[in-house]
Amino acid sequence: MSTPAYVFWQKNPALAWREIDDETVIISPNDSVMHELNETGSFVWKNIDGRKSAAELAELLVKNFEVAPDIALSDTQALLEEMSSRKLVVTVPATGGVSA
């Protein structure tokens, strides 16, 4: 089941991350696992700020890359779900607060 489109996303504050060569490396200190994002994944990651929904992130993707809106949205949602399962991002409900 996918996350509702109206929630906002934010980075897990416990992570360390760096961008090199338009790609991003993310370290989760608790388990010392390294995660990597490609160029478009890095773009989405950079724009995750706790104030944007998957749809808004997908809109930014469309403006900056040659990708159709429906594909951008489905890819963004898939990426966010994958990152959520790895505890790299969390959702912020409209009422405030953070949920995993």
Binding site: P13, A14, L15, A16, W17, R18, I20, D21, E23, V25, I27, P29, N30, S32, M34, E36
Partner: protein, 261 residues
Amino acid sequence: MNAPLAIAVRGPRKQLELSIGCVPLRFQMSDPQLLSAASARYAAFTDVAEQPITIALNDGAPSQDAPVEFGYELEGAALRAFSKGIRFDGVRNQYALDSLLRVLLSWKLLGHSGFLLHAATVVRNRKAYIFTGRSGAGKSTVASLSPQGSVLTDEISLLRREEGAWRAYGTPFWGEFRAEGSNTSAPVAGIFRLLQAAENRVETLRPMAILRALLPNVLFFSAEAEANRQLLEIISHAATEIPGHNLAFRQNATFWEVLPA
């Protein structure tokens, strides 16, 4: 006849001062056997410097109430860093001491733009060649194939960024080759990820690939987010500033022929 009383004799507190990678350390300990073993193990790294990091070793004092800035436990031995000093407790032998020392250095090097890396370091033409890889990758083999006196370490390399340039230091942490480490340093020529192969070959890596090669081989033990951010920043500098290569090699000394000068 009564059995003799077993009394744990603690001698007066003695000091052992070391410098590893220009990080000054002062151990305070009262166990004469541990002092003797540590003095022998780190003989090449004894040094007296101003403002060393003071480490109270098995001093038996009650725990401080002060918050622990960094802590680590390993098989009954514990490192605790407070704002006013560091304690190693439960250290039974030189091997436990060595393990905690590596943990402490990996943390303290953050403040010196440095890090510890599973790598052999060999000096050639006054430059340090860093050969990294997990156990079995060939670090000790590279060290054993290098001229006597040129090996800074065959197991744990120490790299520091000093005034925008990278420098490799010898360490007293050795591997199978038992190169006991050389307390010298040299500017870094390059990082080489070891890959065993039928022929010698060098492949230049992009910074992201260098970062990918370095991270699994970095020694770091803190789970604290800010410390990991600092570490990742330092390693990223290394990945973008130090030339990095894959080195496929035949496990004989001919690999030097394919390395960039």
